[in-house]
Amino acid sequence: MMLTRGSEKLQAIAKKHAFWLAAAVSFAAILLNLTTIWQLCIIPPAIGSLLFIKERARLAWWSGFLGVGLSWLTIVLYYIATQPAMVVADLLIWIIIGEPGLGWIAIVLTVAIGACLGGFGGVIGFAVQRAISKDSMGNAEATKER
């Protein structure tokens, strides 16, 4: 019951501060860069939607998608600005598909992977939250019946 009530409060905060929620997810994802384990990027959106998103799975998906996607884009742009990373991107895509000068595909691919990872994280967090909510509701009903 307490959890459900707390969750509702957080939902209200999420609706009010959706931008900052996405920013927080992005920031957390960027911080995870220190770990060099890219798969961990599924965690911030999962926690975000677990705590803040109750009503719509689509919102959970898109907040994770945008949050992590933006964070990966930010990191990629940082490397492009500070290193000849775009040269390597061109070479890499040339190696993979056999055509030079298509390094932008590496950016799209990278951001898409990060965004999808975030989206999946968001949906998982949302699903966990829904499962917990259902469980709480079920417990509440059972208490009433007793």
Binding site: L32, N33, T35, T36, I37, W38, Q39, C41, I42, W72, I75, V76, Y79, Q83, P84, A85, V87, V88, A89, L91, L92, W94, I95, P100, A106, L109, T110, I113, G114, C116, L117, F120, G121, V123, I124, F126, A127, V128, R130, A131
Partner: protein, 846 residues
């Protein structure tokens, strides 16, 4: 929830594991958390590196080309920092060298490299490196200590590099820590590159085939050990000897199938190796004494010809240590803590391959377990190794040996003769495996030598690969010495059985056994301060007919040497710029004799009737005629059409003249054809086999070569539709640098190029293909400015200091090289002596 978690897990797993052994995990590759985006490509202008195993401070200046100048209190620390720099700039190259030599490529690239691994395990490079390490550890603790510090430097670079270079991401591997064994295996790799080969086996196959086809005299006449017009490297042993008869070989024909299979396997595996495995003959070095230079001091030049790759095999460095005599600069080999070719403040040296015979091949009568030797059956020695294979189970590989050495067998060779367990096996005896070589010790001596006495003392230790080592010092001395351990064979010297060891020997009979000793160092060919004032080597014959020993089984046909000798002999006062011009010279010596012959045949109505002179032929010959009378005569310049036409005709001339050899895929040296053209135009070899009732002579073949050469060019896809005047040589003759992975995206070229395979500036390729080897470095050392940091001397490598494709030092020197330019040495004696703006980084190691 379960569905969401399942899809997410599948997504992550799919991106985290390679879907195929040849494709890296895409998520690992492109993520910005350790994927390719985060590779550090930078050269920070300042950097402090805390290397816990240093005993004093080391300062490194990275000059404008990213080449390091290492200033250390202690030599041992300088060596450690060189290891760090090799590791930092050439990490993938180091990994490939180590894996190739050890037969561990299949572990990272899969089954496609299995045959390469089998080859390298079969020739025992790694095993020899390990044995040599034990020897060095026991006999030369100081050298072993250096090796340990050096590998500590490499490993420190591996451990601290952060995100790995791109190639590691592509292969999905991590670099392996280096050991002293890896370093000494590098020495064996060079031995393999420059002295291991199946030439004896190939020649045996060719001789058998020629004899079977009815050309018993062909081997003597067309493939002599000493080709015509040789000008020996040394001047103290007379002129070139004539040809000698070849000793008989009694192998039965069925054995040839095995020999052929072994040759084919080795050639295929060598061709696919990332690190060059077998080189053709190439390299120039020469030195001019003070009497023949504008400066009154010696000038020494060297350009070693090796396979072109990115990164290049060499890494230029300057190492100075205050606690020793170490103050040398030149070309280091990643994996070895030494300057292999270069100079110090006292002496300079350069190398060309000498082609000495360090290996013999033996065939035996054998069954599956034993081989016959001098009438007794002996069991094979045997060891089985497991070859790890990416994406598959380890493959067992059995290596057998005889009394002479290792049996070559990839496990797939035809073995027993029909209906019998008796067959033939082929083994080799090679100095690289039979003796503890001391080449590292020699090179370390070069780096610190202060005069000719010290240098020669070091050179005596230079065991393999045999080299013609040219020398100069600031006192005005010049010399050239053939170095290396060349075994004495029973019953073989310069005038007796000299050709026997160029073919497969009868191992079962114990034919021409090694007697366990080598030609003494002082008796190897050498010349010191010759009256002519200069010395030249370009892989040609080392010594004239007065030299008493058999020692050289392979040599270049000599056109580069003749051209360089011509240029130096005609100029009694050469400058540094003259030397650079010689290194970039693209004068084709063969055109000097063939071009007038072509025009003479064309102008003679009898040999070339007007009715056969088509418009294209007339236009083409007119272009050749203009070339012959121009200042660019014989120069294979990429912007001219004449070299294209000349090269096509020359190609056809060789093929048509020796049509008997078409089935064997062999062509004699061009100098053999030169000799026949000038001295025996009615030779039987000019008669075309396929015609009956007529006897063709040299002019007939030249006429056909002109017609067919021009027709070949006109029909080619590259030149089709173009007028002969537009058949620019650069369209059909180009140069190319492959990457160690053979990925085209990481390669350089093809670039249109001047030169040919026999010009002093070489690019070894036929028409319509890209040359893939030539000069691997160029160096000119002018001793007139030894006391001014050699500020008039020059160097360049066709690549750059960095192995990182995104670094500006990946190919910055390649552009200089293609323009025929160099960079200065910046041989400053302190780090502070570098003027501001002339270097890009200053790093402190503590």
């Amino acid at each position: 929830m379960v569905l969401a978690a399942g899809i997410a897990s599948g997504f992550i797993v799919a991106l985290s594991i390679p879907l195929d052994p040849s494709i890296p995990a895409i998520g690992n590759l492109v993520n910005p958390y350790g994927g390719f985006w985060s590779i550090d490509h930078g050269t920070p202008a300042t950097m402090n590196v805390d290397m816990p195993f240093l005993s004093g401070q080391v300062t490194v200046i990275k000059d404008a080309h990213g080449e390091p100048h290492i200033y250390a209190q202690k030599e041992i620390d300088a060596v450690a920092v060189l290891g760090f720099l090799h590791g930092r700039d050439r990490m993938f190259q180091l990994e490939m060298i180590r894996r190739q030599a050890a037969g561990l490529l299949a572990e990272v690239v899969g089954m496609q490299a299995l045959e390469i691994d089998k080859l390298y395990r079969n020739i025992r490079l790694r095993s020899a490196g390990e044995n040599l390490t034990g020897y060095v550890k026991a006999t030369d603790p100081a050298m072993y200590a250096k090796l340990e510090k050096y590998v500590a430097g490499i490993n420190y670079a591996i451990d601290t590099c952060g995100t790995l270079p791109l190639e590691f991401h592509l292969l999905g591997i991590r670099p392996t820590h280096w050991t002293p064994e890896d370093c000494l295996t590098i020495e064996k790799i060079m031995d393999n590159m420059l002295t291991f080969g199946t030439d004896d086996v190939y020649r045996t196959l060719l001789r058998e085939g020629l004899e079977d086809a009815g050309y018993a005299s062909a081997m003597d006449e067309l493939f002599p050990r000493v080709t015509p017009f040789q000008k020996p490297i040394t001047v103290d042993y007379g002129t070139a000897p004539g040809e000698r008869p070849i000793s008989p070989f009694s192998a039965a024909s069925p054995e040839m199938a095995n020999l052929d299979a072994i040759c084919s396997w080795i050639e295929r595996a060598q061709a696919a190796s990332p690190i060059p495995a077998k080189q053709g003959f190439g390299s120039n070095n020469w030195v001019v004494g003070g009497s023949n230079s504008t400066t009154g001091f010696p000038i020494l030049c060297n350009d070693m010809h090796l396979e072109w790759s990115l990164p290049m095999i060499w890494y230029t460095a300057h190492i100075k240590a205050l606690d020793s005599d170490m103050n040398c600069q030149g070309f280091t080999l990643p994996g070895a803590p030494l300057v292999i070719v270069g100079h110090n403040e006292h002496v300079a040296w350069g190398m060309t391959n000498a082609g000495c015979d360090h290996i013999d091949w033996y065939s035996y009568t054998a069954n599956s377990t034993h081989y016959l030797y001098k009438g007794t059956w002996y069991p094979f020695g045997s060891v089985t190794e497991m070859i790890p294979v990416k994406g598959g189970n380890p493959v067992p590989f059995k290596i057998r040996s005889t009394i002479h050495g290792v049996v070559m067998d990839n496990g797939n060779l035809p073995y027993g003769l029909a209906g019998s367990d008796i067959g033939t096996v082929l083994a080799f005896r090679w100095v690289a495996l039979t003796n503890y070589t001391t080449t590292f010790k020699a090179v370390y001596g070069f780096d610190r030598a202060r005069n000719m006495t010290e240098f020669d003392a070091a050179l005596e230790q230079f065991s393999l690969p045999s080299q013609n080592v040219v020398y100069a010092d600031r006192h005005g001395n010049i010399s050239i010495r053939c170095s290396g351990w060349v075994p004495f064979r029973e019953g073989v010297n310069a005038t007796e059985n000299a050709d026997a060891c160029r073919f497969v020997l009868n191992g079962s009979a114990g034919e021409h056994e090694w007697n366990g000793t080598f030609i003494p160092f002082t008796e190897l060919p050498h010349s010191v301060n010759p009256a002519q004032g200069y010395l030249v080597s370009a892989n040609q014959l080392s010594a004239g007919s007065l030299y008493p020993y058999y020692f050289q089984d392979s040599m270049d046909q000599g056109y580069r040497a003749r051209r360089i000798n011509d240029l130096l002999a005609s100029d009694p006062s050469v400058s540094v710029d003259d030397m650079a011009a010689i290194q970039n010279d693209v004068y084709d010596k063969s055109a000097e004799w063939l071009l007038p012959e072509l025009l003479r045949v064309f102008d003679n109505d009898t040999t070339f009737p007007d009715g056969q002179k088509t418009l294209l032929v007339n236009q083409s010959v007119a272009i050749l005629r203009a070339w012959n009378s121009s200042t660019d005569r014989c120069k294979m310049l990429k912007d001219l059409a004449a070299p294209t036409i000349y090269a096509a005709i020359l190609n056809k001339y060789q093929v048509l003249a020796f049509d008997e050899l078409a089935a064997f895929g062999a062509l004699p040296a061009l100098s053999v054809l030169e000799n026949l053209t000038l001295a025996a135009p009615a030779s039987k070899w000019f008669d075309t086999v396929s015609t009956t009732g007529t006897t063709e002579t040299c002019p007939d073949i030249i006429r056909e070569a002109i017609k067919q050469g021009v027709a070949w060019l006109a029909a080619s896809k590259t030149l089709s539709g173009k007028a002969p005047a537009d058949w620019k040589y650069g369209l059909v003759h180009q140069v190319y640098w492959h990457h160690l992975t053979y990925l085209a995206a990481l390669a350089a070229g093809p670039y249109p190029a001047s030169g040919s395979g026999i010009t002093p500036n070489p690019s070894y390729a036929g028409l319509f293909s890209s040359a893939r080897w030539g000069a691997s470095e160029r160096m000119i050392i002018d001793f007139s400015r030894w006391d001014h940091d050699f500020d008039t001397s020059k160097m360049v490598i066709p690549g750059g200091s960095s192995g990182d494709p995104a670094s500006r030092h990946y190919t910055d020197q390649l552009q200089l090289f293609l323009r025929g330019e160099y960079h200065g040495l910046a041989f400053h004696q302190t780090a502070d002596a570098f003027p501001a703006g002339t270097y890009e980084a200053r790093w402190i190691f503590t």
